[in-house]
């Protein structure tokens, strides 16, 4: 085991850095600018049962130290993801990938996960019960312990691969939801998804985002994410994947000290397409600076 390697639900990662769903496509476009096999893995764009265009534009608003997105789970649907996107991905990425799944009904989640579970290149299923950008789905499952647990049970019943449940920060008691998912059989928890946010354009006096609200992410939410990773990782025994505002190798260490086994990087990839590569290449330097021999030793060490 290398100094940077970690074990996520039984699969070894060369390093804990994982581009987050929705900020890395299916990887092959980033593979044009660097060798994406240097990543721990990556989580591909949220996949739903049926194809989705998503929300009207504008879908993006700038914020201080962050951004709001209201993409609304644009994706070609699970059949096309498997038939068209994964074969393109496989040509450039040779590690197990994380399949991110969203749905509008419990049965949708089970349907999509069952299909992706059969794909050899998929290592983990990341079940997103936290998308703030779609009505009547996504986040509504992640804001109640019962609903989240029901999704987990339905997915676990039809899959064999580790199921990581991605939680929303837009809740009063994230620990209760995480525990409910663990009890329902989840193999891991990832958090946080975006925080519900809104911007108003002073020139038009209207919301910047066509959908009025969207998901706020980027460095501004990092302290909230660290806090929630800390709370959840102390309450559950399954591994936690931490994310929210991670932009530097120092942030990775902080997330891991809070209790994250691996760390996802979202918005930073949009501003700097080389962000994950730079973070991974910088990790040995900051590990040395803070006298860390092995990353897996610092998980939850704060």
């Amino acid at each position: 085991m290398g100094k940077m390697s970690v074990n996520l639900c039984g699969i070894e990662l060369d390093n804990p850095v994982i581009p987050a769903s929705g900020t890395f496509g299916y990887g092959y476009e980033f593979a044009e600018i660097y060798d994406i096999n240097l990543l721990g893995t990556f989580s591909f764009k949220g996949t739903t049962k049926d194809p989705r265009f998503g929300n009207p534009t504008p879908r993006i608003a700038e914020c201080t130290a962050g951004m709001i997105n209201a993409v609304g789970l644009q994706n070609p649907g699970v059949e096309k993801v498997i038939a068209e996107e994964l074969p393109k991905m496989r040509k450039v990425f040779h590690k197990k990938v994380m399949a991110n799944v969203s749905g509008f009904a419990v049965a949708d989640y089970a349907y999509t996960c069952e299909k992706l579970d059969k794909c050899e290149e998929v290592g983990w299923l990341e079940v997103n019960v936290s998308c703030p950008n779609v009505h009547g789905g996504g986040m509504s499952f992640g804001t109640s312990p019962e609903a989240a647990a029901e999704v987990v049970r339905a997915v676990k019943a039809v899959t064999t691969k580790p199921v990581i449940v991605k939680l929303s920060p837009n809740v009063t008691d994230i620990v209760a939801i995480a525990k409910a998912c663990e009890e329902a059989g989840a193999d891991g928890i990832s958090l946080i998804n975006t925080m519900l946010g809104m911007r108003i354009d002073l020139k038009t006096k209207k919301p910047v985002i066509a959908n009025t609200m969207g998901g706020f992410s980027g460095p501004a939410i990092f302290p909230v994410a660290v806090r929630m990773v800390y709370q959840v990782s102390h309450a559950v025994k399954i591994p936690v994947v931490g994310m929210g505002g991670v932009s530097t190798a120092e942030d990775v260490l902080e997330m891991m000290l809070a209790g994250a086994t691996a760390v996802e990087v979202g918005a930073a990839n949009l501003v700097d397409p080389f962000a994950c590569k730079k973070i991974i290449e910088d990790l040995p330097r900051v590990m040395e600076k803070y006298k860390i021999n092995s990353l897996s030793e610092i998980i939850g060490g704060c």
Partner: protein
């Protein structure tokens, strides 16, 4: 796409609100006219997309209107300062579809990308004509640049204070062309779409997250499926366009 550090070699005012900036650095990824660059500015989270006006072996020139925080910061920058820029973004105009007498139609800060396009068309032996649309005389820029290329340059002003009175579509009616290229505000693009007698290409704008195809922030529906303005665009062919909203 390439990331590079560029040094400002020039940053001058063309009108009250429009600036021209020349940036020296690695421009090898800028392969077509109609492409854009994405500029990171201190203290602002997202990059600012700006079209390529011109390029040579070692520099790229842009023309930008000061409209908000980012462009205001750019205006304050001085020669010798550096910027982190992504280059080679967007598909750019497709020259292979052009006729012998293409018409280039630009409105306001939609004018800049037409300049490198005109140069490239001329190099291919075509005879472009350009129509530049502005609100009023004091807002006109780049007329001499196009004239210096030796091509017919028509200026239209909405208030009639200079050149043809009216919109670029008014000037368009009187001109002979067998293909067209355009960039400008959406109402102008819609008017051209209705008025045009031939096929052509349109350059669009959208609020962007990444500018490089990763986030799906800039998607639009077209006849040939969903496209990302930043990666599959910003240039779309007339027959692909679906007007919505």
């Amino acid at each position: 796409m390439k990331q590079g550090i560029f040094t400002i070699a020039e940053n001058i005012a063309l009108t009250d609100s429009v600036m021209k900036m020349t940036l020296v650095g690695d421009v090898s990824d800028i392969t077509a006219s109609g492409q854009f660059i994405n500029i990171l500015l201190d203290g602002l989270y997202l990059r600012r997309p700006i079209s390529v006006f011109d390029r040579d072996e070692s520099s790229v020139t842009i023309i930008y209107k000061v409209v908000g925080k980012g462009t205001e910061k750019m205006k304050q920058m001085t020669v010798g300062e550096t910027l982190d820029i992504l280059t080679g973004l967007g598909n750019g105009y497709d020259l292979s579809l052009s006729g012998e007498k293409p018409l280039l139609l630009g409105g306001g800060v939609g004018v800049p990308p037409l300049y490198l396009l005109a140069k490239k068309l001329i190099a291919e032996g075509k005879t472009p004509t350009v129509v530049l649309g502005f609100n009023t005389k004091s807002e006109i820029f780049c007329e001499e640049d196009f004239q210096a290329l030796g091509i017919t340059t028509v200026v239209a002003t909405a208030d009639g204070s200079y050149g043809v009175k009216g919109f670029v579509t008014d000037a368009m009616k009187t001109l002979d062309y067998d293909y067209f290229y355009t960039c400008g505000p959406e109402p102008m693009l819609r008017a051209i779409y209705s008025a045009a007698k031939t096929e052509g290409q349109f350059s669009f704008e959208e609020r962007m997250g990444c500018g490089s195809g990763a986030c799906m922030g800039c998607s639009c529906k077209t006849v040939t499926g969903y496209k990302r303005i930043c990666k599959d665009g910003p240039v779309l062919r007339k027959e692909e366009i679906l007007w919505e909203k």
